[in-house]
Every structure is written in C-alpha cells, then in structure tokens.
C-alpha cells in the first residue's frame, strides 16, 4: 500500500511539473513580449495572448508539403514529447522528482537534442530552400553549442561528483558555497549562452523576424500549420521554460520543494514562477537593447561560452 501511494505521489508530481511547464511556457512568451513592447513604447498584447493563439491554432486544419514523408508529421510530436519526458523527471518544482535517481544531466541534454534533430529533419522533409536553410543553420549552431554545454555540465558535475540533476540542485541547498564557486558560476554563464542560442533568442536568432532570409528557427517551421504549428510553439516555449527553470534552480536553488507535502510543492511552484519570470524579463530587456549577430559572428559568441565552461571545469579540478 505504501509503495502504491509512493508511486501515485510520484506520478502526481510528474504531471504537476509537466502541467506547470505547459501552461507556463506560453505565458512566459507572453510576458517577454509584453516587457519588450512596453520598453519599445507600445501597449502590447495581453500576457495570455500566446495561449489564445494556441487555442486558435489547434482548431485549424493541418497541411503538409506535397513531397513530405512521415518524418514531417513526427517532428512536432517528438519535439513536445521530449520536453514533456525530461520535465517530468527534472528538479523544477521538487528537488526529488519522480525517477530522480536516474535523472541525469547528460541524458536530459541528449533527449532534448533528439527533439531538435527531428525538427531539423522535418524541415529538410519539406523540400524547400527555406526548410534546408533553417535546418542547416540550426544544426551549425547546435554543433557549436554542444561543447560549451557539455563542458559546462562537466564543470558542475566534477564539484558535485555526479551528473545527477536532483543531486546537483540539492548540493546547492546543502552547501551554498558550491554555488558561489567559480566553477559553478562560469559553467552557468556558459549554460545561459547555450540556452539563448538553443531556444532561438537574440542575439542568435530573432524570434519575431518576418524576413525569410534572416530566419533560423522560423524558417524551419515555415511549412507547419494548425495543430502541428501549435505543438511546435508549445514545445519551443516549454523547452525555454524548462531550461530556464533548470538554470535558476542550479543558480538559486532556494524555494525548491526538498521534502514531500502539498505545501512545499506549492511553495516550490511559486518560487519557480518568480525566478523564471525574473530571468525571462531580464532576457526580454536585454533583447530590446541587442541586435542580432551575423550568422558567422556566432561561432565567436559560442566559443566564448565554451571558454567560460572550460575555465569552470579547470577551476573545479584545481580547487
């Protein structure tokens, strides 16, 4: 009986985290747009506008290019599914998420990569120049992000002696000195650069561009419509919230529910919302004052991120 309740709580926590991220994703997009428009002197759409957009999209008809295969339809589904799967087992609201023992940072990164790869493949499946262009550029950026990301994880993992995500968050709560260590700070700085690049924000990609030739991510999803487009927008926004949630919990772990109980989970959610909103708004402010980098200047940015992570790893070892 005890085992059953345990499993049930675990499932509930998982569903709760997924639901929070699924609702929070579009809302964060709305918040970031609102901040931008206010700073640019416009009133802007209401914060829940992306949710309304999603409802509209899911009611519309789906189209596919004439020569596409099953991969085109699989792309959005796998994108959302990968984010859902990693959200369920990561320490976002609770520091001991379901299956937390096997929630490994490397595994999370590679599962998310699976979603990006499927999306890049479905962009090529459209058989158009724009799809190929977006796919090629996003794969180039992805390839250059990878070293920064993995070395950043290594830097954090060396200090904690494990790459287990809940353990990495908990070590911050029990030993606050770890967070202030140069290894963790440098690694998180590099992680933030990677988050911006991977989720297509400025200065890497302009999410509100309307010119096909400058698009990266938008070019990839140009052919999607209806529910498929809705899934992509949902998946991308969930991924942004998930990555930012991970980032804030690694950087400021306080507030994460480190023991069971409805109260603690509720507090954990509040803390997560507050922290992610703060970071999201900061990114939005930063975006107002930043121009998009040229595609071939990006390697410099990402190499900078990589160097930060490498320094972090070295300080973790030398310590």
């Amino acid at each position: 009986m005890n085992g059953l309740t345990h499993v049930l709580t675990q499932v509930l926590v998982a569903l709760f985290q997924v639901a929070a991220v699924a609702v929070g994703g579009p809302l964060l997009l709305g918040l970031m747009r609102k901040v931008r428009s206010r700073l640019e002197g416009r009133a802007g759409a209401p914060i829940h506008q992306p949710l309304l957009d999603l409802r509209k999209l899911f009611a519309k008809q789906r189209m596919r290019p004439r020569d596409s295969s099953w991969v085109f339809g699989a792309g959005p589904v796998v994108l959302v599914a990968t984010v859902v799967a990693v959200t369920a087992v990561s320490p976002l609201v609770s520091a001991s998420p379901p299956l937390g023992q096997s929630s490994d940072f490397f595994a999370v990164v590679f599962v998310l990569l699976l979603g990006s790869v499927l999306l890049a493949l479905s962009a090529l499946d459209t058989g158009t120049a724009f799809g190929g262009m977006g796919s090629s550029r996003s794969m180039t950026i992805g390839a250059l992000c990878e070293p920064a990301l993995l070395v950043a994880i290594l830097a954090m993992a060396i200090a904690a002696r494990t790459s287990n995500l809940p353990a990495l968050v908990r070590v911050g709560i029990s030993h606050p000195a770890v967070i202030a260590s140069p290894a963790r700070i440098l690694a998180l700085a590099s992680f933030l650069v990677v988050i911006l690049a991977e989720s297509g924000r400025l200065p890497v990609d302009n999410p509100s561009t309307h010119l096909e030739l400058t698009m990266i991510h938008e070019a990839m999803v140009l052919e999607y419509s209806g529910a498929d487009l809705g899934l992509i927008i949902l998946g991308e926004s969930m991924r942004l919230v998930f990555l930012l949630g991970l980032f804030v919990n690694l950087f400021v772990p306080w507030g994460v529910a480190d023991r069971p109980g409805v109260l603690f989970v509720g507090l954990g959610l509040l803390a997560l919302v507050a922290k992610v909103c703060a970071v999201g708004a900061t990114i939005a402010v930063f975006e107002v004052f930043t121009a998009k980098l040229r595609l071939f200047r990006l390697p410099e940015l990402l190499a900078g991120g990589f160097v930060l992570a490498l320094l972090g790893a070295l300080t973790a070892v030398v310590r």
Binding site: G73, A107, F110, L150, F296
Partner: protein, 673 residues
C-alpha cells in the same frame, strides 16, 4: 566440444571460399552464404561458451603452418570481438544474397568474401606471432580483393585499392616489427611466452614496441593521420563488404592495441596512454569534421568510422591513464565504455553501410546532391538509415547514447586527480567529445535529410525501387539491434565486463550493475535507458492523441492535406531549389575553413554582347582530405622524384654494373680492414 567449434569456424569458411569459387553462378552465392553462416554460428558458440564459463579454448597444431605451427586460444576479450564480428557478418551475408546481382557474384568475390569473414573471425583466436600475422595478412588481402570488385567500371576503385594496399602493408610492417621485437626479447613466439617475459623488458624496448603496434593497428582502425585509405576503400567497396570492413574489420585494429598494450605488455606508463588519447582526440575531431562536410554518402560514413574509432581510442587512453595513476574503478568504467562503444559502432555502422549499399544499388549513385525523397520510395531502407543515424548521433533511445554516457561518466569520475597531464587531457577529451558529438549530429541530419527526405534531386532517385527482401532483412536486423541495445544495454554489459577484466590489469567484473537502470558500482551515476524510452513513448502517444482529438469533424479526412510548399510567392518549386548536401554543410565548412581548407572555384562566363549579362556561373568546391593533399601527395611526389633519380644509376650497361660491384667490393674491404 569447444575445439570442434574452432575447427568448424575455419573449415566451414574454407569450404565456403572453395565452393564460392568453383560452383556455377546460380548456386555459388547461396552455398557460400550458408557455409559462412555455419562458420559464424560456430564462432558465436565458441565465444559464448568462453564468456559464460570463463575458460579459454585452446588448440595447437603443427600440421598446418610448417616450422611454427598454429596456436589458437580464445579468451573472453577475443570472444567479445568474435561475437561482434559474427553479428555483422551474419547480417551482411544475408544482405549479400540480394546484393549479389549488383556485381558481387563473380568467382573471385564469392570466394573472397567468406574467406574475409573467416579470417576476421579467427584473428582474435590467434595466440602466436606467426598465426596472428598469417591471419592478419589473409584478412587484408581478401578485403583488398573485395575493394577491387568494381574496378573494371570505376577508376576510383582501383586507386582506392592502391591506397589501401600500401597503407595496410605499411601497417602490417609496423605490427610485424613490434611482434618480432616482442618475441625476440622473450624467447618464444606464443603469446603466453611473450606475456610471461614482456614485463621484464626495459622501458625503452616496451615503449618502442607499443608505439609500433599503435601505428600499425591504429592505421587499421583508421586513426588520423593514418586514415587516408579508409574513406577511399570503405566507400569503394561494394555494400556488404563495406559494412564488414567498417563494422567488423576496424574493430580488430582496436583489438590489436588492447592485445599488445594491455595483454602482452600488461599496461604501461602515462605517456603511452596520453599518446592513445591524443590519437583519439585528433581522429574524432578530424573524422567528424569531414563527415559533416562531405557530400558522398559512403565517404561520410567512412569518415564517421574514423570519428567513432577516435572515441574508442579516447576511452581506451582514459582507461590506461586512470589505471596508471591508481584509479582502478574509473579505469574499469572507461574500458567498458571503450568496448561498448566498439560493439555499438559495429551494429549501427553495419546497418548504415548496408542501407547506403541499398541506395547505391537502387540509384547508381552515392552523391547526396543527386539523392532525396528516398524515404517514400524505399521505406524500409529509409527507416534503417534513420535509426542508424540517430544511433550514431548518440541520441536516446538508441544504442550509441549508452556508450557515450558511460564514457562521459568515466571521464567525469576520473577527476579531480593529482596528475596534471591527466587533468588536462581529460578536459580536452571532453571538449573534443562534445564538439565531435555536435558535428556528428549535423553530419547525420544532413545524410538522412538530404538523402532520404524532401524531393528527389535526380531521375534515378525519383525512380528508385526498394531493395530485395534479403537486403532489407539483413539491414533491418542490425537496426533492430540498435534499438534493443539502446533499451537494454545490460544484455551485453556482463560479457563486456568479463572481456575487459581479461584485457590485462583492469578488474572490471563489477563496473556496472542493474537490469532496468544502469548503476555504476562505487560511483554516483545511474541511467535508466528503458524507463527513459518508455517515458518518451508514453509522451509521444499522449501528444498524438491530443493532436487527433483537436481535429474538427468539419475538416476533411485524412487530417493532413498535401499542398505546394511556400515559395515566396512563386507558384511552382522544383527539386533544384532545395538545399543540397553541399549547401547544408556550407556554414560549418566556413566556420572550420582554416582546418579543412576546401578548394573553391567560381567560374562566371558573360555573354559576348555585354559583360553586364551573365550567361552561366559554375561553382565548384571540393574538400578532399587536407592531410592527403598536404602530406601524403607531396610525400608520394618526392618518392617518385627520388625514384626517377635512382633510375639514372641503371642504364642497362653491363660495364657500369661491374663498376658498381667493384666499388662496393673496395668499400667493403676498406671497412672490414
């Protein structure tokens, strides 16, 4: 009983080769395949009995090779290699049944292919210097015959075979030297004798032997800078042969390094393993970079082999480093990671090369820029390639991921350590690993996306037909194995640990544990591949159901309407407007311009009437191997130059030769006196 297996491996292979050469066209491939299967089956039986009981199989006879005799011993390490080779060989020979009509049913090919498989199966059995070298040479020669299969139709095959012949024999010479040095210093030529004496040799001799072996075996494994033959030979070899070369033969290069480094010499100082890691880092990055920028499907796969062998070498080097600085647990994990990476590579690269062979057979080209849309024309081959591509890109839930995860864990838990060179090399290895991973993903998105998705870029691709049933079966079997090993790597891990434990000083019999989740014993690292995949599958199902539920009744069924894609207002789009492999790789090529230095050629021709109107533009870019261009070609040219000079000495005049003889005699007399 066990000895019967060993004899069966050899005899069945030999008879298969004879029948393949002697029988008429209608029956020769069938007979050769049946007997090769028998040979592989016996190999697997022997290997399983060794791995499950832990007892070695040994057989020694002087009846075959005069003077030295044949010594065959199968230990757990060899058994693991026998199994990996057998699995690829079973699938490839099944595939061969369907592929034979594409020029692989000649007497020479039908005879060489079984002999190639058998000699590969027997190399891990070899337990004396003479036996090893004979089998090694047999493997090289039979594969050379297979590379030459298409030589009458393709000039490139002939040149590839020349490169292969020279490089493999240079490698064999280095191996020969290493083994001769070993046996000369230990007074016996069986590996047991050598193992007993090798520990007492001086450091310089041991170092020389190790470096020679590393060069020789590294060239077989395609380690940079000795890899030049690999993208040529693996690309030119016909479908099943390229799968065998890339999925099975390169393994034996790694086997050789473990054999000499860990088993015969019993491990060594830090600098050996730094050298191995360095070789691995360079190979991984170089291979991944060329795979990402190459537009020939099989050349891309071959460069990816170099990249994967680089990863294995990194793991092997890390294992040695941790062993040398007294970290037995992490040393064991790194060794297990190396062997798991190797097994995984055999499976997915076998599947990929078989799929690529099917594409070549169906369309007559390997050029990605002329393919496209094959996922709809060749659904099974397409899915096999898709699965193989995700595996090689180390994406869950396929097998490549587990190996890379284990390697990351090994490297991570090896730090911090007091030895600075180890620290730096591990950090560099992780960075290289990560960049390699990113480039590999880009390479295989390109190969799958350009080759199999979108629109057909040529008539051949538009009219391609799915491969024969046996070809589909053989390739699909390996693809299924990719998924199975990705979900339950524990199926092979016990065998790998036993093999790693027999590979010298590493005590790996309990490096990992658990059935559903993979625990690293003694360390904090857990991975649950099947739970991860289960979660993903449930999430996929839920999302599909949600998408289906939102479908409105008023909309037509099927839910998805095929339409013309958006063309910026243009009404019709042609296949030529799509991105090609070359354009896909252009950004990466530009980022790494200084490394690969591609040659570009832009040719603009104007109309005669006015130079403001352009008649046509021809753009040509080629990224042939930079090492080949800047090292091997100048070297060959200088050899040729010296050869021309040397010819002047010989003008055919008897007087001159007499004079040479006289001068030589005088010199000898002066020296002796």
């Amino acid at each position: 009983m066990n000895v019967v297996y060993v004899v069966t491996v050899g005899l069945a292979g030999l008879i298969a080769a004879i029948l393949g050469g002697a029988l008429p066209l209608a029956s020769r491939v069938g007979a050769a395949v049946a007997l090769t299967w028998l040979s592989c089956g016996a190999g697997i039986a022997a290997a399983v009995s060794v791995l499950s009981s832990g007892h070695v199989i040994s057989l020694s006879t002087t009846a075959i090779l005069p003077l030295t005799g044949v010594t065959l011993v199968l230990n757990p390490l060899g058994a693991l290699f026998v199994i990996s080779i057998s699995v690829v060989a079973l699938a490839s020979t099944l595939y061969w049944l369907g592929y034979a009509s594409h020029g692989l049913d000649t007497r020479s090919a039908s005879s060489a292919l079984p002999l190639f498989v058998t000699s590969m199966l027997l190399v891990p059995f070899a337990a004396s210097v003479a036996t090893f070298l004979v089998l090694w040479e047999m493997m090289a020669l039979t594969s050379l015959v297979l590379v030459l299969t298409d030589q009458s139709r393709r000039e490139a095959a002939r040149s590839a075979a020349q490169w292969y012949a020279v490089m493999t024999h240079a490698g064999a010479a280095a191996i020969l030297l290493a083994l001769i040095l070993l046996s000369a210093h230990s007074g016996g030529q069986t590996f047991a004798d050598i193992e007993a004496h090798a520990r007492h040799l001086s450091g310089a001799v041991r170092g020389t032997i190790f470096v020679l072996a590393l060069l020789g075996f590294g060239s077989k494994a395609g380690a940079v800078p000795l890899h030049v033959w690999l993208p040529k030979a693996h690309a030119e070899a016909p479908g099943p042969a390229s799968a065998l070369m890339s999925g099975a033969m390169v393994n034996l290069g790694i086997y050789g390094i473990i054999l000499v480094g860990n088993e015969l010499l019993g491990g060594g100082p830090v600098w050996w393993w730094l050298l191995v890691s360095l070789l691995g880092v360079v190979s991984a990055l170089y291979g991944a970079l060329y795979a990402a920028t190459s537009s020939d499907l099989k050349r891309l796969l071959a460069y990816s082999t170099t990249d994967n062998m680089g990863l294995v070498l990194i793991a092997l080097g890390a294992s040695g480093l941790f062993g040398a600085v007294g970290r037995p647990t992490t040393a064991a994990i790194a060794m297990v990671a190396a062997l798991l990476l190797l097994i995984n590579h055999s499976v997915f690269k076998g599947a990929l090369f078989l799929a690529a062979g099917a594409v070549q057979a169906a369309t007559g080209t390997r050029d990605l820029d002329r393919l496209g849309g094959l996922m709809r024309r060749m659904p099974v081959t397409g899915v096999v390639f898709f699965v193989g591509a995700l595996s090689v890109a180390a994406l869950p839930p396929f097998n490549g991921f587990v190996g890379e995860w284990l390697l990351f864990q090994g490297l991570l838990h090896g730090l911090p350590t007091s030895n600075t060179s180890v620290v730096i090399s591990v950090a560099v290895a992780v960075a290289a690993l990560a960049l390699t991973g990113g480039l590999t993903v880009a390479a295989f998105v390109k190969a799958t996306g350009i080759g199999f998705l979108g629109r057909a870029r040529s008539i051949e691709a538009a009219e391609a037909h799915e491969a024969a049933i046996t070809m589909r079966l053989g390739a699909a079997a390996l693809a299924t194995l990719c998924l199975v090993l990705g979900l339950v790597p524990m199926l092979v891990l016990p065998a790998i640990e036993r093999a790693a434990a027999s590979a010298g000083r590493v005590s790996a019999t309990s490096a990992t544990g658990g059935w559903i989740s993979l625990h690293l014993l003694g360390l904090r690292g857990v991975l649950a591949p099947s739970l991860l995949a289960g979660g993903l599958a449930i999430a996929v199902l839920v999302v599909i159901v949600i998408r289906r539920l939102t479908h409105r009744r008023s909309h037509a069924w099927p839910a998805v309407n095929p339409v013309e894609p958006w063309g910026s207002g243009r009404k019709l789009q042609t296949a030529r407007m799509q991105y090609t492999a070359t354009s896909f790789a252009e950004p990466l090529q530009r980022v790494f311009d200084d490394v690969i230095r591609p040659s570009r050629d832009l040719d603009v021709s104007h109309f005669v009437e006015s130079r403001y109107y352009i008649e046509r533009i021809a753009y040509h870019t080629s990224n042939d191997d930079v090492l080949e261009r800047h090292f091997y070609r100048p070297f060959i040219a200088s050899v040729r130059w010296w050869g021309q000079r040397a010819r002047r000495l010989q003008n055919g005049s008897v007087h001159r030769y007499l004079a040479f003889g006289f001068v030589a005699l005088v010199i000898v007399l002066v020296v002796v006196a």
